[in-house]
Symmetry: C2
Subunit: 144 residues, 2 copies
């Protein structure tokens, strides 16, 4: 049986610091060129999604990811105008705060107040889901 064609696979990282700020990049390339987005990118064949998340974060921001927690899987066929792309999103803490733009990122910033920010793709939804997960983790650790 020939192998099927399936959606492309990507990853995104929600990196949060102790003040609740999120690490965002300004996109250098289309789609959504110039807009704020989560660090992330396509998964390579032979690479786990976790390894891809660490690699993309390091390439785009210079930041090394801590422990990764799965936020969700985002697979709406229209979420990326290039092609149907399914993204696996992770929440993580940075091992240090020194971020510098690289690869697909024109700039990189820690953003605290992103209520009025226009995000690329469905990244606003991913950030919101990541904050819900953080609350759950905090509440679960209180119960033990």
């Amino acid at each position: 049986m020939p192998l099927p064609k399936t959606p492309l696979l990507a990853v995104d990282c929600v990196v949060v610091d102790g003040m609740g700020r999120v690490l965002l990049i300004r996109r250098k390339n289309p789609p959504y060129k110039g807009m704020l987005a989560l660090p992330g990118g396509f998964v390579e064949i032979g690479e786990t999604v976790e390894a891809a998340a660490r690699r993309e974060l390091a390439e785009e921001t210079g930041v090394e990811a801590g422990r990764l927690s799965l936020v969700g899987v985002y697979s709406d066929p229209n979420r990326d105008p290039r092609a149907h792309t399914c993204s696996v999103a992770f929440l993580t803490r940075a091992k240090h705060h020194h971020a510098s733009a690289g690869d697909d990122a024109e700039a990189v910033e820690w953003l605290g107040n992103f209520r009025r920010v226009e995000f690329a793709f469905d990244h606003r939804k991913i950030v919101a889901d990541a904050f819900k997960l953080m609350k759950k983790i905090a509440s679960a650790s209180k119960n033990y």
Copy 2:
């Protein structure tokens, strides 16, 4: 920029009944032909992972999925001998218990004691993770 090649995208369903039994299929085709596996399959372009999980479950077992809870994302490059395939696994309850084999399934069964069963792929790990998630959900609902 041309679109990259990424791992294939699949879904698997851990369907559990009120007695803790799991719905398994006996695989009709290679790889792991004749072995027990979770219902699942490749995601089609234009389809969300949730829709693919419901479709594959219905095609292989005739069972309609209830609410889907994300168990995990399994992306070890060696987990499928055909090609690097990333699977998104969901936990769900069946809306009814009348299962009948179809599509890639030679037989279908509700299995209660699967400690000594040899599973196809990494499905033992996925089932174990799904049971951990069930415990978490039960414990969280007790705390509210």
